[in-house]
């Protein structure tokens, strides 16, 4: 192989590798919207701060949080949230005594109504808090759920 061809080939190989590497990285960028840091935090108030940038919360009777008083199985705790507040941007669910308090987040568009329901895991008895972002302010409602069997262990 002469020098010119060698250079040409190695350049092409390099280009191919770069393209492949680019393709391999790509799927990760899709999750840029998933707030990994907030989901990793283990302290409730730090978690709230990382989501909103502050922890200026206001309890409101307009946030309706429906959770059971006692859940026999911590692996499946039904949670329903609705609110009569307007211009709702998002609803976030926090579980104080879970390893990572941030449980899930729901971001709305102008078409959606601020009503959500899901099932979450709870390791032990804890306060569950729903936080609603409406007109730039955070309104909350919290309730304790007693757990008879934890859902996060083995």
């Amino acid at each position: 192989m002469n020098r010119r061809n060698f250079l040409k080939n190695s350049l092409m190989t390099a280009a191919t590798i770069t393209t492949l590497a680019g393709l391999m990285i790509k799927p990760k960028r899709v999750y840029a919207g998933w707030p990994k840091e907030s989901f990793d935090i283990t302290d409730l108030s730090e978690s709230i701060k990382s989501v909103y940038g502050h922890d200026n919360l206001e309890e409101s009777s307009k946030v309706k949080l429906k959770v059971p008083d006692i859940a026999e199985n911590g692996a499946i705790v039904p949670v329903n949230v609705k609110t009569s507040l307007d211009n709702v941007e998002s609803i976030m669910l926090f579980v104080e005594n879970n390893p990572q308090p941030l449980s899930s987040g729901y971001n709305f568009s102008s078409k959606s109504r601020p009503i959500i329901g899901t099932r979450i895991k709870m390791g032990k008895t804890s306060t569950v808090m729903a936080a609603v972002k409406s007109n730039g302010k955070i309104y909350t409602s919290a309730k304790e759920v007693k757990i008879t069997i934890g859902g996060c262990g083995g």
Binding site: G33, W34, A75, P99, Q100, S103, K111, G117, T118
Partner: protein
């Protein structure tokens, strides 16, 4: 077979979408009883809900959402709308399904 089941029903201009997704939702904290090692985390991170192609809701889930997760949401729409749900998990797997509003 799809991992998603959707039921979408309209009443007085509000469409209620109820969905069940089949997924292990491993937290990464559970131990494998045979090997004693941790079972790696494997959970749905994002669910996007669309109605007739327009994004209605973007859901971010952590590992503390139950196995075979359930999701309800409501939007302003009508009968015959095409509701699409798509989930993406932390390993990059995805699945989606379209259902018609009844």
């Amino acid at each position: 077979m799809s991992t998603i089941k959707i039921r979408a029903k309209e009443s007085k201009g509000a469409v209620t979408v109820k969905a069940l997704m089949k997924h292990p939702m491993e937290t990464g904290q559970r131990k494998d009883k045979k090997t004693g090692g941790k079972i790696p985390a494997h959970f749905i991170q994002e669910v996007v809900g669309k109605a007739n192609g327009d994004e209605v809701i973007t859901v971010h889930w952590g590992p503390a959402v139950s196995k075979n997760p359930y999701l309800t949401f409501v939007y302003s729409g009508s009968k015959g709308d095409k509701v699409e749900l798509k989930w993406t998990d932390n390993k990059g797997n995805t699945d989606s399904k379209i259902a018609e509003v009844k």
